[in-house]
Point group: C2
Chain length 408, copies 2
Amino acid sequence: MAVIVQKYGGSSVANAERIRNVARRIQRAHAAGNQVAVVVSAMGDTTDELIALAASVSANPDPREMDLLLSTGEIVSCTLVAMALRDMGVGAVSMSGEQAGIRTDRLHGKASIVALDPARVRYELDQGRVVIVAGFQGVNEEMDVTTLGRGGSDTTAVALAAALGASLCEIYTDVEGIYTADPRIVPTARKLTELGYEEMLELASYGAKMHPRSIELAAWYKIPVLVAHSVKDAPGTLIHDIAGGDGVEITKKVRGVTYEKGVARITVRAVPDRPGIAASLFDPLAAAGVSVDTIVQNASAERLTDLSFTVDKVDLHRALDVVRPVAQQMGAKDVVSNDSLGTVSIVGTGMQNAPGYASTMFRSLADAKINIEMITTSQIRITCIVGEAQVPAAVRALHKAFELDAAS
Amino acid sequence: MAVIVQKYGGSSVANAERIRNVARRIQRAHAAGNQVAVVVSAMGDTTDELIALAASVSANPDPREMDLLLSTGEIVSCTLVAMALRDMGVGAVSMSGEQAGIRTDRLHGKASIVALDPARVRYELDQGRVVIVAGFQGVNEEMDVTTLGRGGSDTTAVALAAALGASLCEIYTDVEGIYTADPRIVPTARKLTELGYEEMLELASYGAKMHPRSIELAAWYKIPVLVAHSVKDAPGTLIHDIAGGDGVEITKKVRGVTYEKGVARITVRAVPDRPGIAASLFDPLAAAGVSVDTIVQNASAERLTDLSFTVDKVDLHRALDVVRPVAQQMGAKDVVSNDSLGTVSIVGTGMQNAPGYASTMFRSLADAKINIEMITTSQIRITCIVGEAQVPAAVRALHKAFELDAAS
């Protein structure tokens, strides 16, 4: 009997009507003869409301307390889904992360799953019951509740699918699947029928709706993941091992165009170029909790170099406070910043061994009169940093240049 | 170092301001050199809101799911109190019932504590931290969350006090203590300075604010319990082992007058009197979940007897549905009922070996033109069932007759 894991996001369980809708969908999968385990997020804005509640009693809530507090959101939604299923005559039982055997490290607020013992989930499935697991949470060695960070329910679902040897992990959300580009920017964007794990990982990291860690986990355990709409019955996007080559021919080399806004850049100019300058800058930034994205260091004449990196716009002032004194110590000329940038990326496994994608990308942007500020690449992705205001035009230009538009 | 357990009810933690107030009170007890463990109820109307949420997805929510759902209310409040304490610089850690070592039987919705292993609580106390425990909950053998029923947080507090060998269990609530009578009915009612366990048990069973099971537990383990106001700094009422006789002289033999409204009576008339008739009636009532209170069976001539008993008014129709067919089978003449009754009781340990209290009570009620419908007694209590409309007058008459009025 096939095991299927389904995951429903917060908007899919935001009220009683939607919970009953979710229960009906689960009922169908169960009635079709599958063993069904379900992971749910907290209802609607519950997590934000709990965060506000914590802020009302403490300026700086303790992370351990915060995790135990936030974990209640998913407990509430998983018990309600179980109740709704029982009301329809479907045997169902809810479980906290702990009861579902999810063990994590001790990093409160963004813990990683280190082990998952699915014995109890499997027992209930074998009794014919549907199991509803609270997403986003686990327990550490001290049996303290931890949370996996935003988007953590995706990770719970894939980890559970892996532990159960599930044939499919279905991620139900408020979009119909993964698109070649954001349909709000590119009206001709197409929904992708399928996608490789690496491609999805790059898309997820750069805007698309799924937590990157969950994709990594799915790739590692080769769990097929279906991203689909929780209400509409449209076919979603299947993320699976395309590279494994089960007859799938990759005709389009570029699979999608993604973007980010709200990117800021800091440039430390004319730094005396000697070993260790990167570490002297990025260690204190990491200590200050500032996440650094793209880093570019120019080769230089005269033993002077320019070092640029991007951060989230909301972190810019904090980052500058850290960087300025360090730059001065290093003997840099000065520190300049730009807080109106964005990224645009093309993604596709087919790009790996085929030349010409970068030049097509740069030419298309130039034709659209878009200046490229920085460039960064991975094996299957090329990202250009451009002016924030030009991001939509850049996405449209690339979507057209790589022939991703839907056949009309 | 003395261990103190404090318990705060839902109204005491209903919002951020009250939570900070509670934290300040805890801080004072901690700063005074005590080891402090705290039990909290869910914020304000949280439990009712969660029950409504369950009702919105299921006509008949599963008890196991309901318990896991309801348990989140106390988790939220205990984490918030811990955060507020940390914000004041007091080391504090919250714990679920499970983490606090509270094991119960499997009776979801009204579980009983069967064991309490305070190892983790004690460890944290020994580190100098305040421990905030979620009231009202525990886990059963299957590690499923159970709840102890309404008022269960009192029981959590006393059980924790017993397990820790606490010198005092403080129950903070929205009243200043235990009164000789309800001050809304008897303006001259006095707050009692102290009270014996048995007296409190009778008062708690008949209207006063504390869960009877928690009093039984306190009596068993001889834990002194202070009932006091969570905001005002007025001295409360100390419930302790008065009978143990540490120099306390009991001058007033009657300690208080309590009452209930909403009482209904069912009378099965002219039943052929043979062994087993009580069982044939009360077994099906118990199976139907109807709680029976006072039972009176009249001795009779001609082998016929009248059997009367009281139930909560809201259960009357359900009870009649059970009783009528049984009465017919027994050959009873008929079944009559009255749904407008109440009780009035006098309570006091000093009554045990002293005569004349009953006659004073009956005479006072007769003087006030109040008809007595039924009478029931315990070792330290006499209860009269009277018309519901006459309850306030009865309470005032008895409060005066037994000289409980405050010295003016």
